[in-house]
């Protein structure tokens, strides 16, 4: 079991990452709070060693994705998020970025997770394939389709 200091450090370092992944899957702040508690409790109870911060971050992303999936399954949540709820989720985001975020969040889960990991976390397709436990070619396909959808939704040229 990890110490209070270690847990506090991990929360400060990775809370934003966990929060962003939660936003991709969940609809409310209380759901996000539940996932936060689950993820960091698993972190505290995990006795294995991390090779470095990158390894630690990848482990937390994997755990968060799994926790979100389990949560969605357990409550028979729908796989897509209604638009009005997306607007609520992005209410705190400045207006000039909210349309992009809303477009990403309106994608199916399998696309938006890849988009986040690729564009924000800057993982390669190979790394994403390991995190999502998918074939690399599948990841390429998902990313290509996601880009096409985003272009359609956000108006084209500027996304080239």
């Amino acid at each position: 079991m990890r110490s209070e200091q270690e847990a506090a450090r991990a929360i400060e370092l990775y809370a934003d990452t966990v929060r962003r992944i939660c936003m991709l899957h969940l609809k409310s702040d209380s759901d996000t709070e539940d996932i936060f508690q689950t993820v960091f409790l698993k972190y505290v109870l995990y006795s294995g060693a991390f090779e470095n911060e990158e390894h630690e971050k990848a482990w937390l992303i994997r755990v968060t994705l799994n926790a979100c999936k389990d949560f969605m399954k357990s409550f028979f949540r729908s796989r897509t998020v209604p638009l009005d709820e997306i607007e609520e989720l992005t209410a705190d985001v400045p207006e000039d970025h909210s349309d992009v975020l809303e477009a990403v969040l309106s994608l199916p889960v399998k696309y938006k997770t890849g988009v986040y990991l690729y564009f924000y976390e800057q993982y390669s397709a190979v790394e994403i394939s390991k995190l999502l436990e998918k074939n690399v070619n599948t990841v390429y396909t998902l990313l290509a389709r996601a880009k096409t959808m985003l272009k359609e939704r956000l108006g084209g040229e500027e996304f080239e």
Partner: protein
């Protein structure tokens, strides 16, 4: 595109409130500071719950009395200390047929008697003023008397020819060993007093009406014989006192009632 997506996601962050709540959950909730004593107390409470449940089940399922109900169907119910029927033992095919369609177990014995005697399955055996014999055996005599009184009263609401009999645990054991119900065994004992040569095999196939008829026949003959003996004694006194021994008379009695096995009533 990558820059815009990056900047959009970069605007999202976890609030301090969320971080604080998570920290509080991880380090201040009882499950992380639960003492050894609390764990032992919880385990002890669980154990106590299981033990109490087991003891309750044992008490519930332990019979403290047996009620034998005999018409032609012959069955015996074991009753627990809460007056509920915990097992139904059928001693003939008729009883099995009747009990198969009724829900007698786990009901209070008086409710079960009402269900039995008002059922359509039983009605075919309760025609022509059929005799209903209710025998009760229990270790506790007061309980036996109470159950017998209540059972007979309850049965009397549905049938006119109801008789109640008491018995002991040893009577019941002997009846069970002989493969008959307590009620039939008690009737056999009554009959055997009147005719020691009669066997349980002869009685076991009879319905209660037939057994009661036999008892009445024997009692009638005995009374008749006593009258005769009284007259003969008077005559013997007159003729120097020569009397006919009872045993001899009985052994040579050509009018001993025959036992018949009727298929139902």
């Amino acid at each position: 595109m990558s820059n815009r997506i990056y900047e959009a996601f970069d605007c999202v962050s976890a609030g301090q409130d969320l971080k604080d709540k998570t920290k509080a959950y991880l380090f201040q909730t009882p499950k992380h500071c639960q003492s050894g004593f609390a764990r032992y107390a919880a385990a002890a409470a669980c154990l106590l719950f299981v033990l109490l449940g087991g003891a309750g089940y044992h008490v519930y399922m332990t019979p403290v009395a047996a009620i034998s109900i005999d018409v032609n169907p012959s069955m015996e119910w074991e009753v627990n200390s809460l007056d509920r029927v915990v097992s139904v033992i059928c001693y003939n095919e008729e009883a099995e047929n009747v009990a198969a369609d009724l829900h007698l177990k786990h009901r209070k014995y008086d409710d079960a008697i009402t269900e039995l005697l008002t059922s359509s399955e039983m009605s075919v055996y309760l025609t022509d003023n059929a005799a209903v014999s209710i025998s009760v055996a229990a270790e506790d005599e007061d309980r036996s008397i109470r159950i017998q009184g209540r059972a007979v009263e309850c049965a009397g609401r549905h049938c006119s020819n109801v008789s109640g009999h008491g018995g002991t645990a040893s009577d019941r054991q002997a009846a069970n060993q002989a493969g008959v119900s307590l009620g039939k065994y008690k009737a056999f004992l009554a009959l055997q007093k009147l005719d020691p040569s009669i066997t349980l095999e002869e009685v076991s196939g009879l319905c209660m009406c037939e057994i009661q008829d036999l008892i009445r026949d024997y009692e009638g003959q005995t009374a008749e014989y006593r009258n005769l003996q009284s007259e003969e004694n008077t005559g013997a006194q007159e003729n120097n006192g020569e009397a006919c021994p009872v045993g001899q008379h009985h052994n040579h009695d050509p009018n001993r009632p025959h036992t018949h096995h009727h298929e139902g009533q």
